[in-house]
């Protein structure tokens, strides 16, 4: 999802003033850190990307999106590796301005004790095991990504405490700030021709999450509980004074419970993720599960099933879909291909991504996706699957 393709993401958002102030302070701090004789160092990459869509994003818009992305990472460790400071700014520049974005994907101090970890700041957290979808990866806001498999994550301000014991690991997180999704470019074309008008609903919240995870030999499992602001908005259709309709996002307070399980049997890995939550529209359950088989270090194949109990009311196309995919690695790159097929409508979404290393510090990447089927058979509120091709060239420094 990330990496060389990052320059071609069709999304952006505006930082709320308070968070923006925070970001500037942290950017200043990182400059200070840079010029002090600390053992840390900067690294990063710059990527030029372009993506073409089968259809333009609107009557006055183009089918081509271009962007230049700059990603940097600063890491400093001290106290014999127990304490660290990580700062990861990201800047995307869109010559038309719409998708220009500045984000801090990380700006956190962390302490690693004997059996306790503490983190304070902005972080990205990944939870989950499956290949086709990430249901239990609920901490960070997702920036909808039209080109690329899924989403880009936004840094989440949080305070976290983790402990690692014989009976497993427990992560506790307090998330005082909520960041809304943004819908620009092709990401703003959800399901109707009405565009999304961003409500700027970010702000201070009292959101909590906890996860217990454990490993018993070949079995890994995790249980999570989240009480806070749903990262996925509910939309309301509104009519403006000029008679044009538009969609406004509303972020509800929800409670969600999830589980992830993974079992290794030889070269097979069985995986399952499940999540239930209680939005105003009614409680629902979503699950993804399946198998991975590793032929060798360089080739794995996947078969999964994705389910959503809302059926035609789901906010995803993948409510009753079978997924098949493969990943191939070689010395200078990798190839990933996958297809979702809806069991009932046979609507399909194909995806292909490949990258090739050029020398030691550059990567050329291509990514493509195609929707095959009838739009009118998709769940009416599922974001459209856009047929597209994207190219990017990244240079690491």
């Amino acid at each position: 999802m990330r990496g060389p393709c990052s320059g071609i993401r069709a999304s952006s958002y505006r930082l709320a003033p308070s968070l923006y102030g925070c970001s500037v302070a942290l950017a200043g701090l990182s400059v200070l850190v840079l010029v002090t004789p600390l053992r840390g160092q900067w690294e990063g990459d710059v990527a030029l990307g372009a993506q073409w869509f089968a259809a333009a994003a609107g009557p006055d818009r183009s089918a081509l999106e271009v962007a230049l992305a700059l990603r940097a990472a600063f890491q400093h460790d001290w106290d014999r590796g127990r304490q660290s400071l990580a700062v990861e700014p990201f800047l995307r520049w869109d010559p038309r301005g719409e998708r220009t974005l500045f984000d801090l994907q990380a700006a956190a101090w962390r302490y690693r004790g004997g059996s306790w970890d503490v983190a304070l700041g902005i972080r990205e957290v990944f939870w989950g095991v499956t290949e086709s979808r990430q249901l239990v990866d609920v901490i960070n806001q997702r920036d909808p990504v039209v080109g690329g498999p899924g989403y880009e994550k936004l840094g989440q301000p949080l305070v976290s405490l983790a402990t690692h014991q014989d009976w497993g690991s427990v992560d506790l997180m307090f998330m005082p700030y909520f960041r809304p999704r943004s819908y620009t470019g092709h990401a703003g074309l959800l399901w109707s021709s009405a565009r999304v008008v961003e409500s700027g609903a970010g702000g201070w919240r009292w959101d909590w999450a906890a996860r217990w995870s454990h490993r018993l030999g070949a079995l890994d499992f995790g249980l999570l509980q989240f009480v806070g602001t749903n990262r996925e908005p509910r939309f309301e259709t509104e009519t403006g004074s000029a008679g044009a309709t538009f969609l406004t996002p509303h972020y509800e307070r929800i409670t969600q419970t999830g589980a992830d399980v993974q079992l290794l049997v030889g070269r097979w890995i069985c995986k399952l993720e499940a999540l239930t939550l209680d939005p105003e529209s009614g409680r629902y359950v979503a699950a993804t599960g399946g198998l991975e088989y590793a032929f060798a270090d360089y080739l794995s194949v996947f078969g999964e099933y994705a389910f959503d109990s809302r059926g035609d009311d789901a906010t995803t196309s993948f409510n009753d879909d079978v997924f098949a995919g493969a990943r191939l690695w070689w010395q200078d790159g990798q190839l990933r291909a996958g297809v979702f097929v809806d069991r009932r409508t046979l609507n399909s979404v194909l995806s292909l991504s490949a990258n090739r290393r050029l020398g030691n510090a550059a990567v050329l990447a291509v990514e493509a996706g195609a929707f095959i089927g009838r739009e009118d058979r998709e769940p009416p509120e599922a974001p459209r699957q856009h047929t597209h091709v994207a190219l990017s060239l990244a240079r690491y420094f």
Partner: protein, 211 residues
């Protein structure tokens, strides 16, 4: 690590490796990529066990994701090189049966030539012939033969240095694969023994923080 293919094209991989021997149960190894640059920070954590399959986790820094992976087993290629995992792991005496063949000189060293046969049926080899120097028992060369008796690979150890209290370690290992014409050069530097590493420095639940 330099991988050289049949046409002489070279690719360089830089890695940092941390290892911890676990009393009564194999070894824990953490391998962190430095280059190529797009893989920088990618980490592979392996718990190798004397019996049964190994446990392996891969950390992908761009996604902050730890993935458990099906271990390729000891005969799999180490990072796409001509080394198999069983060639780079610790060479446990009990894993082979031995037969003395002859004495022979290897460069400036006088060596015993010993044949050893892997006892583990999952090994990729039928037998190995090892040249060991007579004074310090350092391996100088290993010829690897397949199950059908064909010569697969030759490994040469170079630039031996002595580390206080630990013994000799080779600075360079050169593996030639005779079957495919490829060569891997593994250069080691900055060995540090007794580095104060503990189990918590090899915990898959904290792989994101280990660097």
């Amino acid at each position: 690590m330099v991988l050289r293919d049949r046409d002489g094209k070279e690719r360089t991989r830089e890695l940092r490796i941390r290892a911890l021997e676990v009393e009564g149960d194999g070894e824990k190894t953490l391998l962190i990529f430095e280059s190529p640059r797009d893989l920088r920070g990618t980490a592979l954590l392996t718990f190798s066990h004397p019996e049964g399959s190994d446990d392996q986790w891969l950390y992908l820094p761009a996604l902050k994701r730890v993935k458990r992976i099906a271990a390729s087993g000891q005969s799999g290629s180490f990072m796409g090189s001509e080394f198999a995992y069983e060639d780079v792991g610790s060479q446990v005496v009990d894993k082979f049966s031995y037969r003395y063949l002859r004495d022979e000189a290897v460069e400036q060293y006088q060596a015993f030539v010993v044949e050893r046969i892997p006892l583990d049926p999952s090994s990729g080899y039928g037998r190995q012939v090892v040249w060991v120097d007579k004074t310090e028992y350092r391996p100088l060369r290993v010829d690897y033969y397949g199950r059908n008796g064909e010569l697969l690979k030759t490994l040469r150890f170079k630039d031996y240095r002595q580390y206080a209290g630990v013994g000799w370690r080779a600075g360079q290992l050169v593996m030639v694969n005779h079957q495919v014409g490829r060569t891997t050069l593994l250069s080691w530097s900055d060995y540090e023994f007794g580095a104060g590493l503990a189990d918590r420095d090899f915990d898959p639940a904290r792989l994101e923080q280990l660097r």
